[in-house]
């Protein structure tokens, strides 16, 4: 066989190949609809264009999804991320709004620190329920999903707190070196999480816990501690996302911030190739997943799809993404094209087992 062919097979076989193809297809569709879609110009020293918007708007989702990846890798799930984002954003805004000088950097840093601290406490709460008491993750985090939303509204008294703080606003809409600051934060957090998991042994240990918790325990892994940790990390990521979302509009809306973001985050993780059963996780896949989701949302607006049918459009794209990504689906197609090719074995991935 020619080397070109094997190289091609290597590229198409890569996990990120099909999600990236989907992303490109979506962008291409937009460009066909409106050729200027891809154009990026420099306005007031900032890059400006739909592409930049997509990346900037996906920053909070990327953050939440990163934390979610780790939680899902342990075989858990965190429904509370949206509420945690709302709580932390609300607390930060409340604190800033009470300062005499909202533009003081010190005040903003204090606000962010306080809110971040509280988010860590909320993450620890989730961690204790799951790892300490042994409540099923979905229900454990559902508690905070419901109560956290109330907490956020309690903080804002059910109103929208509007602030006027340049330093805080920077988190959401500022620029650094022509790039939106939000993108830089997302990159930085991604880097931190990647280093934390892939340069240390944390990633492997998380995957071991998610792949087979009992075996990991018997191998001396402190699985509870790890499980606890991922919920804290997830809450921390959600908190930063909360700052971004509130800074984006310079206001905290306890009801709307992060609403349904947990579903998007889980979807991003799954599109990225991580299994909900736990085990292997792929941060790069998660990021591509988040970009796909945001591109999809932006496409609806950019292509002016009737809101009444927008959901149908989303459904079609989501199902297309997962079909194209599924090896079983592609194999079926290929077989039809090239009869005689090997049928795929229906080997389902299962937790805690090693078929001989």
């Amino acid at each position: 066989m020619s080397t070109a062919r094997t190289r091609l097979a290597g590229v198409t076989g890569h996990r990120l190949f099909w999600p990236l193809v989907m992303l490109v297809v979506l962008l291409a569709a937009n460009t066909i609809y409106r050729p200027s879609f891809l154009s990026v110009e420099l306005k007031n020293g900032h890059l400006y264009g739909s592409l930049i918007d997509i990346v900037r708007l996906s920053a909070p989702l990327i953050l939440v999804a990163l934390g979610m990846s780790l939680v899902i890798a342990t075989g858990g799930i965190d429904l509370s991320v949206g509420s945690v984002a709302a709580v932390s954003g609300a607390i930060a805004c409340l604190y800033i709004s009470e300062q005499p000088d909202q533009n003081s950097l010190g005040a903003v840093l204090t606000a962010v620190a306080i809110a971040f601290g509280i988010a860590l406490v909320l993450g620890a709460w989730n961690g204790i329920l799951v790892a300490g008491i042994g409540i099923q993750p979905i229900i454990a985090t559902l508690i905070l999903m419901v109560a956290g939303r109330g907490l956020a509204q309690l903080v804002t008294s059910g109103q929208i707190i509007t602030i006027n703080s340049e330093p805080y606003k920077t988190i959401g809409v500022g620029h650094l070196l022509t790039l939106p600051f939000a993108i830089i934060i997302a990159l930085a957090v991604t880097l931190v999480v990647a280093v934390l998991t892939r340069r240390t042994a944390l990633g492997m240990i998380i995957e071991a816990v998610g792949g087979n918790a009992e075996a990991s325990r018997l191998a001396g892994v402190r699985s509870r501690r790890i499980t606890f940790l991922v919920y804290v990390v997830s809450a921390a990521c959600a908190a930063v996302a909360g700052f971004m979302m509130t800074a984006n509009v310079s206001s905290a809306d306890g009801n709307a911030v992060g609403l349904w973001v947990e579903l998007d985050a889980i979807l991003a993780v799954v599109i990225g190739g991580t299994s909900l059963v736990g085990g292997r996780f792929y941060l790069s896949g998660t990021i591509v997943g988040a970009l796909i989701i945001q591109t999809l949302t932006t496409s609806v607006y950019a292509m002016n799809i009737d809101p009444q049918t927008a959901l149908l459009f989303k459904a079609v794209v989501v199902i297309a993404v997962c079909l194209i990504q599924a090896p079983a689906f592609r194999a079926r197609f290929r077989r039809r094209q090239a009869p005689g090719a090997p049928p795929v074995a229906p080997v389902e991935k299962q937790k805690e087992q090693v078929p001989a």
């Binding site: 419901v146 309690l154 579903l263």
Partner: protein
Amino acid sequence: MTTTPLAARGPRAWWRVPQRQVPVLATLALLLVMYGIGVSQYRAFSNIQVVFNIFIDNGFLLVVAVGMTFVILTGGIDLSVGSVVAMTAMVSASLLGDGVHPALVLLIALLIGPALGFAMGCVIHFFDIQPFIVTLAGMFFARGMCTWISSTSIPITDGFWTSAAQERIRIGENFVTVSVLVALAVVAVAAYTLAYTRLGRNVYAIGGNQQSALLMGLPVGRTKIAVYTISGLCSAIGGILLSFYTLSGAPLIAIGMELDTIAAVVIGGTLLTGGSGYVFGTVLGVLVLGVIQTLITFDGSLSSWWTKIVIGGLLFAFILLQRLVGIRKK
């Protein structure tokens, strides 16, 4: 040549509850405690009608949760239920509005849900795609259908529907509605199916270990598809009951219902990883949610946000106690 018999376990006393039922019984006990608290706090709480109302108000949730129980028992999940409920109600309302005969409407409405469920099951099985993502797409699809049919709510004035909605079945001083009877019938059928049919046992088998079930020669694919179809059917029935309940179809109704149903199933002691749980537990789970809500309405002094915090708190207290009781009995 003979092995020594393995250390025999003590004979089982007739009153000793089998290990497996402990969590469900603990849940039942806690539910009763919670009800007792309600009765002691609020005078009107002791009316039998309050209990009946919990059933009336949660009949559709119960039916949908029963379907979800099947799915979760196989270790899957179905996020589309809320949207399918809404879609069913929407379709019924709009067809009735067009003057289609109610019997035909009923038939069509009861076919759409299972058809979507069947399609999702096929995608999940044949293409080996995670249920979460497939049913999420199903959720978008069904909700999209709702807004596509109409962006406003459609009232139902059909005679059959209104009489089904407003018929009161008297039980002494109090009453239940048709929905309650339908819901209880669904529960009974589901409980029988899970316990006494091959399909039901295969559901448990797949939840225990799909790979093993496959190697044991069980019809894994067929069962998985069946389970999502059943969930679709239950959602469709739930949708009909909801359209009885509200006598209309509204595009935004039943948003977030998938979480309520999953919560009910899991509170009822079913493991999200599959293979363990009972329909009876699900009934209890739905009742727990219903009682929590009733307690909050009866209190009537909570602001919007405290309502959420208190719901979370009660849920936490309940689940914590459930865990503790369960552990102690072991």
